[in-house]
């Protein structure tokens, strides 16, 4: 197409070979821990980020779990350090915390 102006006209048929804009996904799947057969007699640890009424929800769950399972011990979030990101323990400073506390399982709150 001829044009008297200085505007350069790009052909409608100009084709572009576009590159992928993302990055390689690094994936090293962490296998999930073996689940428990029962909560009876187990120690349940609580981890809380300080938000969205996790403290109240934990108390409710403690009561409901204790009604259904006997001999359960709770290690409350107040008994664990909160020196890490989001109010959780600093895992670099306490790498074996959950084992040392005797946690058979953990409940983590609260995503919202």
């Amino acid at each position: 197409m001829k044009s008297k102006s200085n505007v350069r006209t790009v052909s409608r048929k100009t084709m572009y070979k576009a590159l992928w804009p993302r990055g390689r996904k690094t994936l090293d799947i962490v296998p999930l821990a073996r689940r428990l057969d029962t909560l009876e007699g187990k120690t349940i640890c609580e981890l809380w980020d300080g938000l969205f009424r996790g403290d109240e929800i934990f108390l409710m769950l403690e009561e409901l779990i204790s009604e259904q399972y006997s001999g359960v011990t709770f290690v409350r979030w107040t008994q664990l350090p909160r020196d890490g990101d989001h109010g959780f323990p600093d895992w670099k400073a306490h790498p074996n915390l959950l084992t040392e506390k005797g946690c058979d399982c953990v409940i983590v709150a609260t995503g919202a």
Binding site: K17, G50, C105, G111
Partner: protein, 471 residues
């Protein structure tokens, strides 16, 4: 969920409590943390909006059973198919400009406005402006756990409409993203805060960043396209997508880059903000922080610092609300304390008024600290209203969370600062030199912490700029 992953890695099963609106984000985040099958236990609705009986019913009827299931029933491990993804340098699509954009939009690689098709030729033009290897991995970005490389910085720089010579700035931006101090993983949180990039150094003039009238407005290629690059890169490499991993209630759009007026600073004898951040004057530096909101302070009146400062200080106090959480912290999140860093932008003429009253920047920060104050009861009220930090301030001080100055007495009317230290204030000078407006940005604290990086230039920077400008 990172805490849940830590437990799983230790061989301890976990149940992650997630409110209903976050289930899909929770699943996607679990995938990014290498545990795609991580079991979640839902709390119906939003906990903060239930009365006690509603919350109890939600927990009894739904959450409790899902917790038991999460802890006692082995989930089926999800298989992921990373091998089928394209690789760097793969041509992903060939078509016209419109066809490329349609394809990219359908794949969520552009945000709804056209991108510049990233072709090999265009990317190679960007790569000329760095001495670093194109395969260098700058970091691995959450939530998708993808590699940020020099290569894909160039690809997204092309797409954002940047010029090749912006490449050193773009690399420095991604270095911020990869710095754990910044907290990139919080870029999709509910408040929907957005970053502001501030730039200092001779590169402002090298690349023609606007630093005068309309300093925060689109219209200047450097400011606008570099700002766009940030969000595009968060989308394509970090993996933040609305309705998926991005849970902003509303969100903001990306901000144009703020360039400081260093001519004015030299005139009044103030240092650039980059020097406050620990760099040498004359270094090319960018500083990034996430801000929940920002607002103009209009019609600042007075011919002395004593006349203009009360209005500025009152404006700072009025704009910081729940964000005081990042000043005081809470018992549940003590690490949030003392991470609030509000950013005050002064137009040159206002900065001059303050400077000619004998104030250095340090003096100004001290004045702001001593006078931008709020009654203690107000902070406690906001804490209760939001349920983010429902504590008495003195309890936080006693617990070692908030510093001592927040409990110098128990008088609820005592005035307390909005930051922990005068140096927590960021001050920059920019905008129309002859308009008496200022601007305040309120900070998202540790969830987008103020982080600065030096911009590294290629060895023959000046020569390359000269040659390219003559083309």
């Amino acid at each position: 969920m990172r805490a849940s992953v830590q437990a799983e890695k230790s061989g301890i099963p976990s149940a992650s409590l997630i409110s209903e609106g976050f289930i899909s984000q929770g699943n996607l985040t679990a995938g990014g943390l290498w545990t795609p099958s991580l079991p979640l236990a839902m709390i119906p609705g939003h906990p903060d909006l239930h009365d006690r009986s509603e919350l109890l019913r939600a927990v009894k009827e739904v959450t409790f059973n899902q917790v038991i299931k999460a802890l006692t029933l082995q989930p089926e491990e999800t298989k992921t198919d990373v091998q089928s993804e394209p690789k760097d340098k793969d041509i992903i699509f060939e078509g016209t400009f419109e066809e490329v954009n349609k394809f990219f939009y359908e794949n969520k690689w552009q945000e709804g406005i056209p991108i510049v098709p990233p072709t090999m030729q265009k990317v190679e033009e960007f790569l000329k402006y760095t001495d670093r290897s194109l395969d260098e991995v700058i970091g691995v970005l959450l939530p998708d756990n993808r590699e940020a490389t020099i290569w894909n910085v160039a690809v997204n720089g092309v797409m954002a409409g940047c010029r090749p010579e912006y490449m050193p700035v773009l690399i420095a931006l991604v270095e911020v993203m990869a710095d754990p101090q910044y907290g990139l993983e919080h870029s999709a949180n509910t408040p929907g805060a957005e970053e502001l990039i501030t730039i200092n150094g001779p590169i402002i003039k090298d690349l023609d960043f606007n630093y005068s009238q309309g300093a925060l407005r689109v219209g200047f290629q450097a400011n606008t396209s570099v700002g766009r690059f940030w969000r595009l890169y968060l989308r394509n490499v970090a993996g933040f997508l609305p309705h998926e991993t991005d849970k902003a209630t509303y969100g903001n759009t990306w901000r144009v880059v703020l360039a400081e007026n260093e001519d004015e600073l030299a005139k009044i004898g103030w240092e650039p903000m980059s020097v406050d951040q620990g760099f040498k004057e004359g270094d090319n530096v960018l500083t990034v922080a996430r801000y929940t909101s920002g607002s103009v302070i209009v019609s600042v009146y007075g011919s002395t610092a004593e006349q203009v400062l009360p209005y500025l200080e009152d404006s700072i106090v009025r704009h910081i609300g729940w964000e005081l959480f990042f000043t005081t912290g809470s018992l549940g999140m003590p690490g949030a304390a003392c991470t609030q860093r509000p950013h005050l932008i002064l137009s040159p003429c206002i900065a001059e008024v303050i400077a000619r009253s004998g104030y250095s920047k340090k003096d100004l920060k001290l004045h702001l600290y001593e006078h931008a104050r709020v009654p203690a009861w107000k902070i406690e009220q906001i804490g209760r209203w939001s349920n983010l930090f429902p504590f008495i301030l003195c309890e936080l001080v006693e617990a070692g969370v908030a510093p001592r100055q927040f409990c110098e007495s128990t008088d609820p009317n005592r005035l307390v600062p909005v930051v922990c230290s005068p140096d927590d204030f960021l001050i920059t000078v920019s905008g129309d030199p002859n308009r008496n407006n200022a601007y305040v940005f309120v900070h998202n604290g540790k969830f987008g912490y103020t982080t600065s990086k030096k911009i590294e230039l290629p060895a023959d920077w000046k020569q390359m700029l000269k040659e390219d400008s003559e083309k």
